[in-house]
Symmetry: C2
């Protein structure tokens, strides 16, 4: 049976019910850790499910920051240091990745608190997550403030890619499932993926 909800039905829902429904209706989401470093050199890492492809030339990705109604270390660190990392979450460390969503103070590094390992390169100051099989370094490019609810859409240019070379197909496609990379639905449900099919370029 198909259930219909109107906008009034949605706005009248109990708060947690609405949050669960609205977080799961858009489909499976990517699961990434965003790494940043503060002005005082505290390495921060936090889980995000909103990373989205913007373009390949130049290489651009975006993600959504929740409204700045409470301190957002990831946002403040990006503004202070210009660079951040996006690291794919895999099965081998997903409980630790989820734990980064807890509210630690700005003097605490979630790397230490959650048992993850920072990894640095010479390209930029932001920390990668060593445990991740696909790590991206990005430079802040632009941001857009969403009037409807105060959230912020941040866009970065990919300046470095570190990827396990066993995942790389000859045509550049990364076989994410081979490294146990996960997806998320809703706020807290983690999924493994199995390839159903790869389809050709569609023509009329």
């Amino acid at each position: 049976m198909e259930k219909h909800f109107s906008l009034n039905d949605i706005l009248g829902m109990e708060r947690f019910y609405r949050r669960n429904l609205m977080n799961s209706i858009s489909g499976f989401k990517p699961c990434n850790l965003i790494g940043t470093i503060s002005y005082r050199e505290v390495a921060n890492v936090a889980i995000f499910n909103s990373v989205v492809h913007i373009g390949a030339t130049p290489p651009l990705l975006g993600f959504v920051m929740r409204p700045l109604t409470v301190p957002r270390q990831t946002y403040h660190n990006i503004k202070a240091r210009e660079f951040f990392t996006i690291n794919a979450v895999a099965r081998s460390f997903y409980e630790r990745a989820h734990q980064t969503s807890a509210k630690y103070g700005d003097q605490v590094s979630e790397f230490e608190a959650c048992g993850l390992t920072p990894q640095y390169t010479d390209t930029h100051p932001a920390p990668y997550v060593r445990e991740s099989p696909v790590k991206l370094g990005l430079q802040w490019e632009e941001e857009h403030h969403i009037r409807a609810n105060g959230s912020i859409f941040i866009i970065g240019k990919v300046v470095e890619v570190l990827a396990d070379d066993s995942l790389l197909a000859p045509d550049g496609h990364l076989g994410l499932e081979k490294a146990g990379i996960l997806s998320v639905a809703g706020l807290d449900s983690y999924y493994e993926s199995e390839l159903l099919g790869r389809l050709g370029y569609a023509r009329p």
Copy 2:
């Protein structure tokens, strides 16, 4: 072995290699059909992998439109008619959903050309995809033009949800995998998902 690519390496890649790599590095992506209707009442449907959660109160979703360097029927129809639909793609019709990415003219309905069925409600004029187990009706709310590459981030308010009620958990969470809803990696690789774990609210 971890392979390192610099920005110069990325910009120097063969074009299709870079496109495949950049489309797969961000992780698994949601797989949705966006339905619109033109001023002349031609129903349009096209596949998108960029739908992202913006907020629950009010209920908001966003998605990325490629630059308007060629005619984009989805964009023009949203601007002309204000409403659009987002429909989850499931295993039972994913080849037909992929086929909507072919370039049909603006007088052709992809519903007919690809064997999908439009479904209408009294709430707004945009067509849903009857075959989809999770259908959302949205009203255009705002859009942001991305300076870095000319793409457009469109935000809509969810004004209607039609969902198979067997997917709805008592807490509002939708069990997407129960309806065979798929995710995508890269441009053309479709995945089924299996629940690994649901984790509790994280505290320090």
